[in-house]
Amino acid sequence: MNVLLPNSLAEACDFCAKQPDLIPLAGATDLLVHWPLRQAEHDKTYLDLSKLQELRTITWSANSLTLGALTTYWDVLQDPRAKSDFPLLIESARQVGAIQIQSRGTWAGNIANGSPAADGVPVLMAYDASVALTSKSGTRSVPLHEYYTGYRKSVRRSDELISAISIPLRRYDFAVFHKVGARRAQAITKIGLAMTRESAKPATWRVVANSVAATVKRCAAVENLLHAGAPIRKPEDFAAAIASDVTPIDDIRSTADYRRTVMARLLYHSLKGVSPAIS
C-alpha cells in the first residue's frame, strides 16, 4: 500500500496530476470497513487529505454556505447556524452511523464514495448544492445533481479532487428528510427521501431519493407533478412518476416493491396539505 501525505491542496493536486489512479482519503470510514479482509484494496495508492486544514472549513457568505472537503457530519451538527438555515443537513447528519462515524466521516467523502444509499447526498442535492472540483489547472463547479453518471461513477476526473461543497442560501417554506432503515440508528437506508420547496415565486420543488436507483437520484417526474399542481389524493397517484424516476432492486435490505410503495407513501404523507393540490 502506498500513501501520499500532501501538506497542501496544491501539493495534493500535483500528486493527482502525476498519478491518475490515486484514491483520495478523508475520514476513511468507508474504506476501512472489513479492511483486513479487503486485501485487494491494500495494493492501491492513497492520497491522505486528512491533515489539510485548509479543507476543514465551514464558510458562510452572503449567498452561500461552503463546506470544505474535510467537513465532517459532526462539524455541521456543531455549527450554530446550520440548524436554522439548512435543517436537513442536521437531520441527515444525525442519521449517518453514530457519533463515532459522524466525527470522522465527511460530506465530500459521502459524495465521492458514490453509494446510492448515501445519507448525506440527498439533502445536499435537495438544497441544490454544487461540488467544487479542483485540479492543477483550477477549480470548476458541478451541480451535485449532475455529478453522478452511473453506479459509483461520476464526472470527477482522476486529476481532480473534491475541494468543497457549496450550498446556495435560499428561502425554503418546506423541507423534509426521511430515512427508512432497519434500525433507528446505524442502518443503511432501505429508502430515503429529501424534499425542499423554495419560497420564491414560482416555487421550485426538489425531490431526491436514495437507495432506489444506481445513484442518489433527483426525481424529475415527481417534481413535474408538483410543479404542475396535479391533484394528488392518495399515495398511488405518485406511482407513475415514481416508476419513471427510479429503478429500485430487491436486495438484502429490502424489496423493490417495498421501496416503491413506501416512497409513494412518504411522498404523499409528507406533502399532504403542503400544497392545495395534495389532500
Partner: protein, 700 residues
C-alpha cells in the same frame, strides 16, 4: 414543516418511546433475593478495560494463525498454489489439503505467521482453484412444505398455516478461539469457552499432555450463548497443534465473518400445522410437522412445538431435520424453543381470532397449570391488556398491538464441585473452576459464600474460570447457578463448621454452640469474637470446606411475557414499546444479575423477531451478510421499556434464568403485530416489507 424524529412517524404518530419509567432500581423485585444491591464483583475490571479476555492474551513471541476457508456453499478445491503466499514476509507455514467442501466457511487448512497482517496477506496471496458445485441453501430447497389436510370431526374451528424462522447466529461480541502457550512439558490454554473442563478434556494429541500438566484459563468470556459449549473447538485445536510444534504461543481467534459462518447458530425452522378447536377454546385435534434447517449437520434442528406448556388433545407431532449447504447449528440459548414458541403462540392467536376469543383468555384456558395462569393475570395488569383493541380494528397509521407468550425450561444439573477456604487473617476464598460468560457467576459465588458463612461479601474473594480449580459444570442449559450455588453454599457451610470445631476445641465447647451473624461470631447466641479475631485462632493454612453436588437438582422454571408494540402501517416498521417479563426464579441470589439475564433474553428475542437473519446466496451458497452491518442486532434506540419481574412466590432452590426469558419473546411480538394490523406475519424476522405485504393481504 421539519420532521425531527429519528425514524419516520407519519400522519402525527405518537412519540416513539413514551415511557419515562425507571428501568433500574426496580421496586417490585426488591426484597426477594439474597442480595438486592450488590454490583458485579468483576464490574470494575470490565468497566476499566482491565479484564483480560482470551482474545486479549497477546503474549510475547506469539504466532498468529487463521483458517483457509471455502468461499462457496459447495465447491471442490482442486489445486493449491501457495508459492506466492509462502514468500510473504512473516509467513511461517501454510498447510492446505485439497478437498470437496459442503459449506461456506469450511476449513481446508491454515496459514500461520508472525503477525495478523502477515496472515491476511498470505491468505490473499494464495491461489486456490475452486470448482463450484450446485447448492441447496434452505429447508424449502429440499422440502415442499404446504398446508396440511385434516381436521378433528367435532371441531368448531380448524386453522391451517405454515410458519418459518430464519437462522440466527450467536454473534457473541468476543469471537471463538483462544491462545495456547505450550512450553514443552507444561501449557496454558486461554480459551473463550463456556466449558473450562470440557476444553481441558478435549485436546488429546493436540497437546500431548496430561490434564494436570496444563491449565485452561478463561477468567473472562465475551459471550457465548451456547456456541462455546463443549470441547476446544477447531480454533483451539489448531492453536494447540501449532504451539506444540513451534514451541511458541499460538493465537487463533475467528474474525466476525468466520464467526457467522462456522461457529454454530440457531437452526432455521418451518412448521406446518392444522389445529382444531371447540368454541370454548379447547384443542381437540391437530397435526404439527416441523422441519429444522441444520445445514451440513446431521441433527440438532429440533423445533419445540407443541411445547407441552398448553393442553392440546390429540395433536400429533412429527419432525425432520433437513440438511443443506451451510454451517450447522450449535446449542443456542434455549435450543429449539424460540422457533417453536413463535409458531405456537401465533397459531393460538390465529385460532383465538377465528373463535372470536381474546387470545389471553384462550392461552389462560389452555395453559397447563395455575402458575402460568397466575403469571398471566399479573402480567396482563402490568402491560395494560385492558387497552387492547380487537384484531385489525384500528384504522390509524400508527396502530398499537398487544401479545403474550409463555415459557418453560427444565434441565438436570450435571453436578459440580466447590471449595471454600477460611484464612487466619479472616479472608475467605471461594473456588470453583466454572466460567462466567456474562451471567454473573463470580458474583453469585461470592454472595453464596458470604451468605452461608454470615460475613460481608467484601471479605470474600472468588476464583473461577481455571481448570486447576474444583471442576464445575459447563455454562449450558441454565444449570450453572442451580448447580454451583448449593455446592458453594455447602462448601462454605462446611468451612465454617471447621472453624467452629477449632474454636470449640480451644475453648472446650461444642461446634454446634457457634454461629456467625453480620461478621460476628456468636456462642450460644452471645457475641463471642469478631470474625477476624475468631479466624486468628486458625492454623496457618486456615480451614477448607469442599462440597460436591451430584446430578439431579433441577432448575425448572416458568415465565410469561407480554409485548406491546406500535406498528407504522405506512412503512411497516414495528416499534416495541413495553415488555413485561415475568420469570419464576426460586431463590434469587443476586437481584441485579438476575434482572440482567431476563432483560438480555428479551433483547435477544426481540432482535430475533425483528432483524436477525442469515442470508445465503441461492446460487453459490455463500453467506451474503457475514457481518454486523447487514446482519442487524437490536441497538439502544430500539429498546422498549423492559420490566423483568422476579416471581418467587414461595419457591425455594435456585432456578434456571438464562434460557427461559428468550423463549416467548419473538412469538409474543408476532402476536402483538397480528393484533395491531389484523393479519399474521408468519415468517420471522418481522421486517417492514413483510408487515406491509400482510397488511395488503388483509385488505384484499
Amino acid at each position: 414543516m421539519i420532521k425531527t424524529d429519528v425514524a419516520p412517524t407519519l400522519a402525527g404518530g405518537p412519540t416513539l418511546i413514551p415511557t419515562d419509567m425507571p428501568t433500574t432500581n426496580r421496586p417490585m423485585n426488591m426484597g426477594q433475593s439474597m442480595d438486592d444491591n450488590t454490583s458485579r464483583l468483576d464490574g470494575v475490571a470490565k468497566i476499566t478495560g482491565a479484564a483480560k479476555y482470551s482474545s486479549d492474551m497477546l503474549l510475547p513471541n506469539a504466532v498468529f494463525a487463521r483458517f483457509v476457508r471455502c468461499p462457496f456453499g459447495a465447491a471442490n478445491l482442486e489445486t493449491v498454489d501457495d508459492s506466492a503466499a509462502r514468500k510473504v514476509p512473516g509467513v511461517i507455514d501454510i498447510e492446505i489439503t485439497p478437498k470437496a467442501c459442503t459449506y461456506n466457511g469450511q476449513p481446508v487448512g491454515h496459514v500461520v505467521a508472525e503477525s495478523p497482517v502477515a496472515v491476511n496477506r498470505a491468505l490473499k496471496a494464495l491461489k486456490l482453484n475452486w470448482k463450484k458445485d450446485s447448492v441447496k441453501t434452505s429447508i424449502r430447497d429440499t422440502k415442499q412444505v404446504g398446508l396440511l389436510k385434516g381436521n378433528a370431526p367435532d371441531a368448531d374451528v380448524t386453522i391451517r398455516a405454515v410458519y418459518s424462522t430464519p437462522v440466527q447466529t450467536h454473534s457473541s461480541l468476543e469471537t471463538h478461539g483462544g491462545v495456547v502457550d505450550h512450553k514443552g512439558d507444561k501449557a496454558t490454554v486461554y480459551a473463550s469457552t463456556q466449558g473450562t473442563f470440557s476444553v481441558r478434556d478435549g485436546f488429546g494429541d493436540a497437546l500431548s499432555l496430561k490434564g494436570s500438566d496444563f491449565e485452561v484459563v478463561c477468567e473472562y468470556v465475551g459471550g457465548g450463548f451456547g456456541s462455546k459449549l463443549g470441547g476446544p473447538g477447531k480454533e483451539l485445536m489448531l492453536a494447540a497443534k501449532l504451539s506444540q510444534k513451534l514451541k511458541r504461543p499460538a493465537y487463533v481467534m475467528c474474525n466476525r465473518a468466520e464467526e457467522h459462518l462456522d461457529t454454530g447458530n440457531r437452526p432455521s425452522s418451518v412448521t406446518s400445522v392444522w389445529l382444531s378447536l371447540k368454541k370454548d377454546g379447547s384443542v381437540v385435534g391437530g397435526e404439527v410437522m416441523t422441519y429444522g434447517g441444520v445445514g451440513v449437520a446431521n441433527g440438532g434442528g429440533g423445533c419445540n412445538v407443541p411445547s407441552g406448556r398448553y393442553t392440546f388433545a390429540n395433536v400429533n407431532k412429527s419432525h425432520e431435520d433437513v440438511s443443506f449447504n451451510a454451517g450447522g447449528p450449535r446449542a443456542f440459548r434455549a435450543p429449539g424453543r424460540p422457533q417453536g414458541a413463535f409458531a405456537e403462540e401465533l397459531m393460538l392467536d390465529e385460532a383465538a381470532a377465528e373463535l372470536g376469543m381474546d387470545p389471553l383468555a384462550l392461552k389462560r384456558k389452555l395453559a397447563i397449570d395455575d402458575v402460568y395462569r397466575e403469571m398471566l393475570d399479573q402480567g396482563a395488569k402490568l402491560i395494560g391488556w385492558g387497552e387492547r383493541k380487537a384484531n385489525g380494528s384500528q384504522t390509524s397509521v400508527m396502530r398499537t398491538g398487544f401479545g403474550v407468550g409463555i415459557a418453560g425450561w427444565g434441565s438436570a444439573s450435571p453436578g459440580g464441585n466447590a471449595e471454600v477456604v477460611i484464612h487466619p487473617d479472616g479472608s475467605v476464598e471461594s473456588r470453583t473452576g466454572t466460567q462466567d460468560i456474562g451471567t454473573g457467576q463470580r458474583t453469585t459465588m461470592g454472595i453464596c459464600t458470604a451468605d452461608a458463612i454470615g460475613i460481608p461479601l467484601s471479605m470474600v474473594t472468588v476464583q473461577i474460570g481455571r481448570s486447576s480449580l474444583p471442576p464445575g459444570p459447563g455454562s449450558g442449559g441454565s444449570v450453572t447457578s442451580p448447580t454451583t450455588a448449593p455446592t458453594m453454599m455447602n462448601a462454605a457451610t462446611q468451612a465454617r463448621t471447621k472453624l467452629f470445631e477449632v474454636l470449640a476445641r480451644q475453648g472446650g465447647d461444642n461446634a454446634a454452640d457457634f454461629t456467625v451473624k453480620d461478621g460476628v461470631v456468636l456462642k450460644r447466641g452471645e457475641k463471642f469474637l469478631s470474625w477476624k479475631d475468631a479466624c486468628a485462632k486458625l492454623p496457618a493454612d486456615g480451614v477448607m470446606g469442599s462440597a460436591s453436588t451430584g446430578d439431579g437438582g433441577k432448575g425448572n422454571s416458568q415465565g410469561v411475557q407480554f409485548v406491546k408494540v406500535v406498528v407504522d402501517c405506512e412503512t411497516g416498521i414495528i416499534y416495541p414499546k413495553h415488555v413485561i417479563a415475568i420469570q419464576s426464579c426460586g431463590r434469587v441470589i443476586c437481584r441485579k444479575t438476575a434482572e440482567s439475564q431476563i432483560i438480555g433474553g428479551v433483547i435477544q428475542g426481540l432482535s430475533y423477531g425483528m432483524f436477525e437473519n442469515r442470508i445465503l446466496d441461492r446460487n453459490v451458497g455463500a453467506m451474503v451478510n457475514p457481518n454486523l452491518e447487514w446482519y442487524k442486532i437490536l441497538g439502544p434506540c430500539e429498546m422498549p421499556h423492559i420490566e423483568p419481574v422476579l416471581w418467587a412466590h414461595g419457591q425455594t432452590g435456585v432456578k434456571a434464568l438464562g434460557e427461559p426469558p428468550t423463549i416467548p419473546t419473538a412469538g409474543a411480538l408476532a402476536c402483538a403485530v397480528f393484533n395491531a394490523i389484523g393479519a399474521p406475519v408468519r415468517h420471522l424476522p418481522l421486517t417492514p416489507d413483510k408487515v406491509l405485504s400482510a397488511l395488503e393481504g388483509a385488505r384484499s
